[in-house]
Symmetry: C2
Subunit: 346 residues, 2 copies
């Protein structure tokens, strides 16, 4: 069994640990964050952590009403701009805490008066030393190059921050404690996936589509397919897909779709109908029979998880698909070519 | 000759018209925009216009110091969040001005007290009626489904807004008037490209890389290749490419790279060296001999255009490549399958 698959299976416990150890920290910080009356939240990250940041951007805007920006690190590191961030909360996300560009951006933000928060899996990393407040993902050491348990625990910390910062009309995130259990149940798709990946052994390219809170999962499944299986994976929101790239889709073109019940469901359903008319090959991740019936291959999430809580359990079949397809292709998902665990970019 | 190619050739004039007709409007608005003391600029767009927005995000942050966010329309249209935007300037960009999600987002922003600005090619469109101030791209009617002259004229309006909003240490954009001439000279690459596309007749997938101000061009060339040539095109900043997706690159894998001289050049050069070691096929767009010599195929921009002014002339060979490759494949770049000129999404 690959390290990647082992680490995928560690997620229910890692999520529980992160929830129980970081929840109080977020609650303690709540008042201080509200007192800042932040006009902006900025998220800074790269790679898989940047996909977590994409989730954070939707979650934080929806639950706090504060606009969110995803930082472009080169503005700081290469163009050396000085942004006005004194009324911002700036959140850096990095598994290793060692990415140069993330850390420079956080230092700049701090210097300009922003409140800075870090989310990292290494409490003694450079990132942890820069920020005002550190949240530690309790994933344990991640040995596979392809990140899985650090991604989902980063999402968990973002829920805690959104909960601490939410406005009066915002959700209370009451069902947060159920996520580890939902995640454990999604892991039961493993035997289905082990058979299913055979069909995709010679897939060279595909598209991955999600929307809203699950757009991050489309980006994340796309990166996993690229780095572990060397499959070209175009990643889109369902709306952006319709503004051009859908022209690529011919009969048999594979499209992976995240389709949780809730706010984005009607939009995603329309896309799946359209893909059906184009005779695309659809792989649909959903709890909803009405849409799974339309799919070429269905990945049924056992629980009817509301959209708000769906991203963590919904990425699980995508992670397993990538790890198992890599093995079916004779590749090691733990050691993709050209990559190492820590990527230092400026 | 395809409409797309005709419209590519109309760009020098369209850019001149846009510059001369909208410059004064931007200057008049300058004081009002400064008086808002905006803590945030939000850009709202889809498809090719969203790629223009990506350019705007870098340009505006670098020249004004005001943080920029690219809006996620579903936060407004599907999740119905109410964002605090009273201290923001919100800029909607749409060729047709008819995209439902863009217009709903602008209406929400206006209601919450934001100053709203529109950039559209149709002065009588719904978008034009919603916003406080309209800037009209003087591209003339765009008949090809694949947008070209509206993209570059949108970039031109964003230069004018950045110039009007720039801070005291910001650039004066003195060379803006030279862009039409640089664009005209880049068009002279047509015969080179006509020969060159033969080599790519059977290319199924590729990656497109840019960074900073030219990251938008990587996204835009990627969309053009997908919608007109049905080529899967992964789009990355050079930094994000190194955080995972570079694992896809094997010998012969085609990578298109934007490499203007300036702030991002050393970073891009390192990537090109790395791609050389991986024996990738590189198509490099640059004025710099040092890097063109390393490319499998070189697209030499005739003028040494500084990074700040490079995005408009640099996209031109990419546009022509897409239009000519589509024709070499027997496709019509003007009528991609599954698309129409106006895409209405929510």
């Amino acid at each position: 069994m690959s390290l990647m698959l082992q680490e995928i299976f560690e997620q229910p416990h890692a999520l529980e640990r992160t929830l129980s150890s970081e929840r109080r920290h977020a609650e303690r910080l709540s008042r201080r964050m509200h007192e800042r009356r932040a006009s902006l939240i900025v998220l800074v990250a790269r790679g898989t952590s940047d996909n977590a940041a994409q989730f954070g951007r939707y979650l934080l805007e929806i639950s706090t009403g504060i606009p969110v920006s995803l930082a472009a690190p080169s503005v700081h590191t290469l163009y050396r701009a000085r942004l006005r961030l004194s009324s911002a909360i700036v959140i850096g996300i990095s598994q290793s805490g060692e990415s140069t560009d993330i850390n420079i951006t956080l230092e700049n933000a701090k210097r300009s008066g922003a409140m800075t928060i870090g989310i990292t899996n290494d409490s003694s990393s450079p990132l942890a030393k820069i920020v005002d407040e550190v949240f530690v993902t309790r994933a344990g050491r991640e040995r596979s190059v392809a990140a899985t348990k650090t991604y989902t625990t980063q999402l968990m910390v973002l829920y805690l921050l959104a909960s601490a910062l939410r406005n009066s009309s915002g959700e209370g995130f009451k069902a947060l404690a159920r996520i580890p259990e939902w995640t454990a149940r999604a892991l039961k798709l493993q035997p289905t996936l082990l058979e299913m990946v055979e069909r995709y052994r010679f897939m060279r390219q595909c598209a991955v589509v999600g929307r809203g809170l699950n757009y991050a999962n489309a980006l994340e499944l796309g990166i996993k397919l690229m780095e572990t299986c060397y499959v070209g994976a175009e990643r889109f929101s369902s709306a952006d897909f319709l503004h051009g790239p859908i022209a690529m889709v011919e009969g048999g073109f594979p499209v992976f779709v995240f389709a949780p019940p809730g706010q984005v469901f009607p939009d995603i359903r329309n896309l799946i109908y359209k893909l059906g008319r184009l005779k695309a090959e659809t792989v649909v991740i959903s709890s909803e029979t009405s849409i799974l019936e339309k799919a070429t291959r269905a990945l049924r999430i056992p629980d009817r998880i509301p959209d708000l809580y769906s991203p963590i359990p919904y990425i699980v079949p995508g992670q397993m698909f990538s790890a198992l397809l890599a093995e079916a292709k004779g590749l090691s998902p733990d050691r993709p070519r050209s990559l190492s665990k820590i990527t230092r970019t400026v």
